[in-house]
Structures are given as C-alpha cells and as structure tokens.
C-alpha cells in the first residue's frame, strides 16, 4: 500500500461507511457508479445554505458576492484537478450533459451529412447516444473501434476506423466495465493527423488517475462530481483553450447572455455562455470540497492504492472456481473496476446474495450494451474501488461468492477448468 494513503484512517471521514447493511458492515464496492461522500463535502452543502445562500453572478449584495466567489473558486479547483485553466471549464449536471453539450454546441455546427464520428465498442451509453442523435440530425455516420481479447482498445482497429470524413473521435479514458485505460495521447495523435477533434469521457478516470487534460492532446474532457466524492447533479466539461469561444450556446436563458433584445440576443463569454439558468451552486461548491479532499490525499496515492486493490481482486477472483474475469490482467493498463461473471449464477442473483452480507456490487449491463454484446454476455457483476476501500473488503466479497455457489449448487468438478 502506498505510504501516502491510509484507507483505514480515511474511512473515518465518510459517515456512511459506519452503517450496517443487512446486519453486516457495509462493504461498498460500487464506486464506479457513485462514490460515498466525506464529511467535508456534506458539510460544504450545509455551510453554503446556512451561511452564503444567494444567486450568483447577478447580485450586488454581500451574500451574492460570497456565493459567486465560492462558486468560481470551485471552478478553479475543478480546472486544477485536470491541469487546466478555470476559464476553459464549464459546469454541467453530469458527464452525460457535458457530452450532450459538445454534441449540440460543437457537433451541430461542424458535423454534416456523410461525416463520421468514431467511437469505441466499450463506450458508456452516455458517449454513444448523443452521437447517434447527432448523426440522426445531420446524416453523419458512426464507426466503432474494437478491443483486443483482454479488453484493451485495439489501436489498429481505431486507425482503420478513422478516415478523411472523421470529424470527431470520442473515447472513454477508462472503461466503466473493463477498467481498461485508453492511451489517449496516441488516440489524439491519430485523430489529429486525420483532422478530427477528440472528446475524452473522463467520468471514470478523473476520480482515480492523475489527469492532465491539456497534455492528453484532446479537445474536450468530460467528468462528473458524484463519482469523485462530490455531490450528484454536478458535472464539468473542459475544452481546449479558445474552443468554447468558437461555439454557440447549448441551452438558452439567463446568465448565458450579453444583451437580450426582443428578437435576438448576444452571448456571454465562456464559460458563462454554457451555464444557462441558476446552476447547482451548493453542489458546485461542495464539489470544490471534494476536489480539496482528493488533492489532500494526492491522486498519485489514490491511483497506487487502487492499483493494489485491483491486483488483489484479480488475483483472488481468478482463484475462485467458476469466475470469469472481463478486462486486462495487467494492472498497469487499467483502473480499479473489476467485472466478472460466475458460472451457473446470473449476475442479479449474485448481487442479491452478496448484498445479504452487506456487499454492494453492481450487476447488469453497466450502461454499455454494445460492449456486453461484444463480450457475449447479457450482464456482469462489477466490483469497483476507491480510496477508502481496504483489501479485507475484497475477502468479504470472495467469501460471499462461496455462499452464491452453495445456493446455486455448483459441483466442485466444474470449478477445475
């Protein structure tokens, strides 16, 4: 374990981790879906409403000024987390909205009939459906790059998918099913050589890896607060410097305008141009508290800790009879998301049974149905880690799987494969 991260100590900062589920201590291994929140984040929400509540960017009074400062301070923290400038970061509701913003505000003006948008087969629905909608509006086509047998992006297949009509390459930075980390710099170089822009879905990477978005060579980087200790209802979009200024608004309304006349309006400068209406002010400020917390622990330490947990989980699960793992074995090429299936038991049955031991894991298609079809499975179970998880929790999961096998009556001879 990294000397810099003491999970047992950090756990004390997360009130929910003290509760029991079905009479057992909570073993929360569904962090890729959403993480739990530290006291500092919960307190930041209350602190805002108790001491600063006011609408932002429009008031002259003291509370409005304080709230605006706190909100803009959080923008600076979100930018710092990915090595960027505050003016290039837009707050949204979630990573999904960030991607939809790009599809509308960038895509509608730049993608036309016969143009191509290149995705990978391991994208989350949030990085597929907005592009299908864009293709539907414009007559563009979608092309998919594949993955190799271990679940890593197949760069040859990506190279083949990118062509002269490619306008955008949209890739996940880290698969929410396989854990595979995409070599974004190589992807971006390929896209750029073809004159295409690059969007990176960072919903799974920003919470778990050190990220320098400008250095990745991408044009857009989307991420979400609730997967990185922050509250729900807050996401962010980073765009390459200067790019937001070239884009028309996504949503129209208050705050995003410069001048409104009866018939037409002019737009505010970015990032306000893309933040129509009153945003989730409390949520953004609390996201700032989450980013402070992550900074205090250090993303290198978070990554190192999760790599250890991932290695242990892969090792323990691969020793468990009947388990099939989906995703790369090499922990250097992946993050802390471990998908598996157990022979003879459907993932929902597995999830129900381990829940009885207080173990929260995901079961289902993980909003990645094209990937599920590619893998030839209807669903998987998924354990996903973050900074407060401990090795002993993996042991609890593996023991709970024995209970599944007992109920579903697997015979030991079938485990020998």
């Amino acid at each position: 374990m990294s000397a810099a991260l003491d999970a047992a100590r950090l756990r004390a900062d997360f009130p929910i981790l003290a509760r029991e589920v079905n009479g057992h201590p909570l073993v929360y291994l569904d962090n890729a879906a959403t993480t739990q929140k530290p006291r500092a984040v919960i307190d930041a929400l209350a602190h805002y409403y108790e001491t600063q509540n006011a609408n932002i960017h429009r008031g002259i009074h003291a509370l409005a000024v304080e709230a605006t400062e706190a909100y803009e301070e959080a923008r600076g923290k979100a930018a710092r987390h990915i090595g960027a400038r505050a003016e290039d970061v837009v707050f949204t509701r979630n990573a999904t909205e960030s991607i939809n913003l790009v599809a509308r505000a960038w895509g509608d003006a730049r993608v036309g009939e016969g143009d191509e948008i290149v995705l990978t087969i391991m994208e989350h629905h949030s990085n597929i459906v907005p592009w299908q909608q864009l293709a539907g509006r414009t007559g563009a086509r979608l092309r998919y790059a594949g993955i190799d047998a271990e679940g890593r992006l197949d760069l040859d297949s990506l190279r083949a998918a990118i062509g002269p009509r490619t306008k955008l390459v949209a890739v996940t930075h880290m698969s929410n099913v396989l854990g595979s980390v995409t070599p974004v710099a190589e992807v971006a170089a390929m896209a750029r050589a073809a004159g295409a822009a690059v969007l990176v879905d960072g919903a799974q990477s920003a919470p778990h890896l050190p990220v320098d978005a400008p250095a990745l060579g991408c044009d857009f980087f989307a991420f979400s607060a609730h997967k990185m200790l922050g509250p729900t209802g807050v996401g962010a979009l980073w765009a390459r410097p200067g790019l937001l200024a070239e884009m028309d608004p996504f949503l129209g309304g208050g705050e995003m305008i410069a001048l409104v006349r009866e018939e037409e309006s002019t737009w505010a400068e970015p990032p306000n141009r893309f933040e129509a209406g009153t945003p989730n002010i409390a949520g953004v400020i609390a996201f700032g508290a989450a980013l402070d917390y992550l900074r205090g622990v250090g993303m290198e330490a978070v990554h190192a800790h999760e790599r250890e947990l991932t290695a242990r989980a892969i090792e323990a699960l691969s020793r468990t009879g009947g388990v099939t793992l989906h995703g790369p074995r090499d922990v250097e090429a992946r993050g802390g998301v471990v998908s598996f299936t157990l022979e003879g038991a459907h993932p929902h049955d597995v999830s129900t049974i381990v829940d009885a031991r207080g173990v929260a894991i995901r079961a289902g298609h993980h909003c990645a149905q094209p990937l599920m079809r590619h893998l030839g499975v209807a669903a998987t179970n998924r354990a996903s880690f973050t900074l407060y998880n401990e090795a002993s929790e993996i042991d609890v999961l593996v023991e709970a799987l024995d209970e599944v096998k007992r109920i579903f009556g697997r015979v030991e001879s079938r485990t020998a494969v």
Partner: protein, 150 residues
C-alpha cells in the same frame, strides 16, 4: 448468520433453482397462434413466449429467454401451469400471481409450483424479474376476449 440476514431459503427455493437449471418448455412452437416478447431494459432479462390457443384453451406453450434465476424459473413454471388452462383461468392466475408478489397475502393453492416465487415479495427489486413473463403472457393474450366467469 446475523439476525437481519434476508430469507434466502425463501427466495431460492429448490423448485426455482430446478426450473432455472432445466427450464421446461424451452424453445419455439412450430405453428404458434399467439406470441409476444418482453425485456427488462434495466437488467437485460428477456422472455419470448409462444402459445397455441384452440377455442378458449391454451394447448401448447414454449418460451425462449435469458436472465436471472427468478425471471427464467417464473417463465418455466408459468408455461407448465397454463398449458391446458382456459384463457379465463389463465387471466385469473395472472391476478393471483401478481397478488402473491405485491401484497402480503398467502399464495393461492391454484398457483401450484408458482407458489415458490412468493418469497420474491421480500426482495422488492427482484419483483419485476418474476413478473416479466407474465407481462409477456398478458400481451400475447390481448387479442382474446374473455368473460370473467368467476
């Protein structure tokens, strides 16, 4: 085991696991008169049902599907139970089956083996699994009018 341990012996009854491992009436019919299929989009469970209805009686049943033990055993037991039943009886069974999952009522003896799924009522998130094939059955029978002769 702790006091709060959920009642697995109620959920995963042997008859359920048996139907899951060896589904009855699995496959397709040569000449079905009625068919429908359904999906639980959130979990991916699938059931495609085929029936031969002659007059007011269900003469043959078959289903194809994939999913969890609850959704698939429910389909297997359902196709067993409704074969030979009239459409009116089948609609009555639908009500009885739904009642045992959504109300704190004892299962009706008319349900036969399907009574084994009563334990699902204690796992609310799994109720939709047990009901999937019944929703499909309801759709398959939609064209047939019956008089409630209770």
């Amino acid at each position: 085991m702790s006091r709060a341990e959920p009642p697995f012996d109620d959920l995963y009854r042997e008859v359920i696991l048996d139907h899951y491992r060896r589904p009855r009436n699995a496959g397709a019919l040569d000449v079905p008169t009625h068919r429908a299929e359904g999906l639980n989009p959130l979990c991916g469970d699938e059931v495609a049902l085929e029936l031969v209805v002659e007059g007011d009686t269900i003469r043959a049943t078959a289903f194809r599907g994939r999913g969890c033990s609850i959704s698939q055993s429910s389909a297997s037991m359902m196709t067993e139970r409704i074969r030979g039943a009239t459409v009116a009886e089948t609609r009555r069974l639908m009500e009885l089956f739904e009642a045992q999952l959504t109300e704190d009522a004892e299962p009706d003896p008319a349900l036969g083996d399907l009574e084994a799924l009563h334990g699902v009522a204690q796992f609310p998130v799994r109720v939709k699994c047990a009901l999937l094939c019944w929703k499909v059955l309801r759709e398959a029978l939609t064209p047939i009018e019956t008089v409630d002769d209770r």
